[in-house]
Symmetry: C2
Subunit: 412 residues, 2 copies
Amino acid sequence: MRCSVIAVGTELLLGQIVDTNSSWIGEQLAANGIDSLIQVKVGDNRERIVNVLRSALADADAVIMCGGLGPTHDDLTRDAIAEVMGQPLEMHDDIAAVIRSIFESRGRRMADNNLQQAMVPRGATVIHQTRGTAPGLICPVGDKVVYAVPGVPHEMHDMMDRAVLPDLRRRGGDTSVIASRVIRTWGESESGLNERLNPIIAELESLGSPTLAFLASGWEGIKVRLTAKGSTADEARATLDAWDARVCELVGEVVFGRDTQTMESVVLDLLRERGWSLGLAESVTGGLVSGRLTAIPGASDVLRGSVVSYASDVKFDVLDVPRGPVVSEQAAIAMAEGARRVLGSSVGLSLTGVAGPTEQDGQPVGTLWVGVALPDRPAIATLLRLPGQRDQMRQMAVISSLDLLRRRLSGQ
Amino acid sequence: MRCSVIAVGTELLLGQIVDTNSSWIGEQLAANGIDSLIQVKVGDNRERIVNVLRSALADADAVIMCGGLGPTHDDLTRDAIAEVMGQPLEMHDDIAAVIRSIFESRGRRMADNNLQQAMVPRGATVIHQTRGTAPGLICPVGDKVVYAVPGVPHEMHDMMDRAVLPDLRRRGGDTSVIASRVIRTWGESESGLNERLNPIIAELESLGSPTLAFLASGWEGIKVRLTAKGSTADEARATLDAWDARVCELVGEVVFGRDTQTMESVVLDLLRERGWSLGLAESVTGGLVSGRLTAIPGASDVLRGSVVSYASDVKFDVLDVPRGPVVSEQAAIAMAEGARRVLGSSVGLSLTGVAGPTEQDGQPVGTLWVGVALPDRPAIATLLRLPGQRDQMRQMAVISSLDLLRRRLSGQ
């Protein structure tokens, strides 16, 4: 199967919104073994949408159209598909009833133009809406197919998972079940991981399944994604388990979690299991570590708080750091102990370093001291040299310090 | 002029990288009065690149190709353009010399494939490289034109500003100078701004210049961008000044800055001007306010630090908040005063609220109390009701609290 994507919306062309939907769809297509041909952005102009759709259908077996399904006069995807199909649009009363009931349940008046969303090209199959008011569409065009899904990301994700991807795989003759797993790593570059996993990559290429892909994701480490096919979900899962173990034989010491786990959630879970609370003392990161930990609902079970001691006097006066250089082993240790004492936590984590733009106290940009104070043990500090400019250095400091704490907690 | 964009790279189609380059280019084209037709992503496949380029050239007057200019066998943009032009690629010795000198200045050995970047289709004009090793290209195809720029954003931005946009405007017969200004607002929705600016928008539409556009930018407010043409830069700037004043007559009370100013930089500047330091006490935002302020180099002049008092006991014990409900006016006032006292700052800012997923102490998700303590004045607290789920609520809390502080500092 060769598939193209058309994202509809003038705001995408004008750069007012970045088209992340196509990227997400491209990732899903690859994971499902479907080739991507092209991805196009087109404005809210019926003639142009029709031309782009015809041209995409000439090369691809399937086209996914994203956006332009709403109730306004700018929402033209339905009309364009009907024109390319050579079919009229017909009102579906059951969809209209659902749209009416959504407005009623919210206690809002429904403007009549909302019923435009109940119009369906003759011959198309409806993907029922579970979240928004616009249903999706599966539209046969000769022996090819056009899908229409909303541009609102969570509605689009839902319809892709529930209807479009299974339909595409069925059309491609693929009756297998697909399962994937993301193995999350921190502490090795993508090229380094690639080199160390080379024996497995070569073996997998000859086998064909599972596939292995690297996904970079900002300041959240490199993800290794395994995607396996099986005749049943259990079989696919067993394949993933076996190859997950093989990956861990080679690079296990940089693996910190899987799938929806994040460095923050893993650290909070490790602390929670031990019945320990956490207190932070942040300087160079200015509150980013605690900002990221508190993004996780339930962090309050574990996190007492943070003393963001940006000014040196705050380090001396609040955390009892001895007067002297504040980017130092001694300061990091005193900060971790100070955080534990001031915040009343069982564990203290501290960060002091130089984010730039200029060096500080003779220490170069990128210098980071991380202090860790565990219960009943003397605090220790570790020196890291991080790359990058101010923003990059600070974000690297956040995840690097959490990884150090994770390793101490799990006894590595 | 009608212009299309082709972003080249398999990693874009697979969703491993989001194509933000096209969005940026779309924004620049709009600001320069050039119509965008379509934007396409295509993989590193010569035949497909050629087909997409031919098809884009059939409809557009100009096509900008972004990416695929590097030294590897996957970099095929030059070859594809030469094929569409029907011209051979020729080695340009002066470009080769520049590439060699870049490697020499970095003390690195140059692999021979780097000289591929010195190949130019016959008849094309070179956009000289000032940053990377790959030059850009201006390639005539009949009475139309194809531009090639690198995919590395800062190299691409440089060549667009320096060569592509001026060339496009010249070809479109536009000899004027363009200047633009971004007026940054917080506290009014896009539709609300639109409604209030309607008299100006109508007037501008009949005049044609300057143009006015709304740009949403996440948690940084709504931007109103004015773009003016003039026969000189001074004239364009004078037009911007006049219309900036007109915009401020209608919505001035929500304007917090212009162009590169951010809410953080404005607040830090207001404090710096007064010689005042800032101390924070954050609960619901968990350190995000101080994390954002410390992203600005030089924040240490002003920001003493933050007490992230996530656990109630930290509020009581460290900040001397009276025992009782911690999402309350009383708690916010005590936190702001506590921050000032503990951190030794002239100004205290506090945030306590409910981010969810569930309500707390009978207060619904979205409740936010912001406390502000200025020198020699009693602290006051303000209640806000913010929309959204956990992440959205917390980010709204960050900028809303800084905006409240800004208004207090500037006497609004």
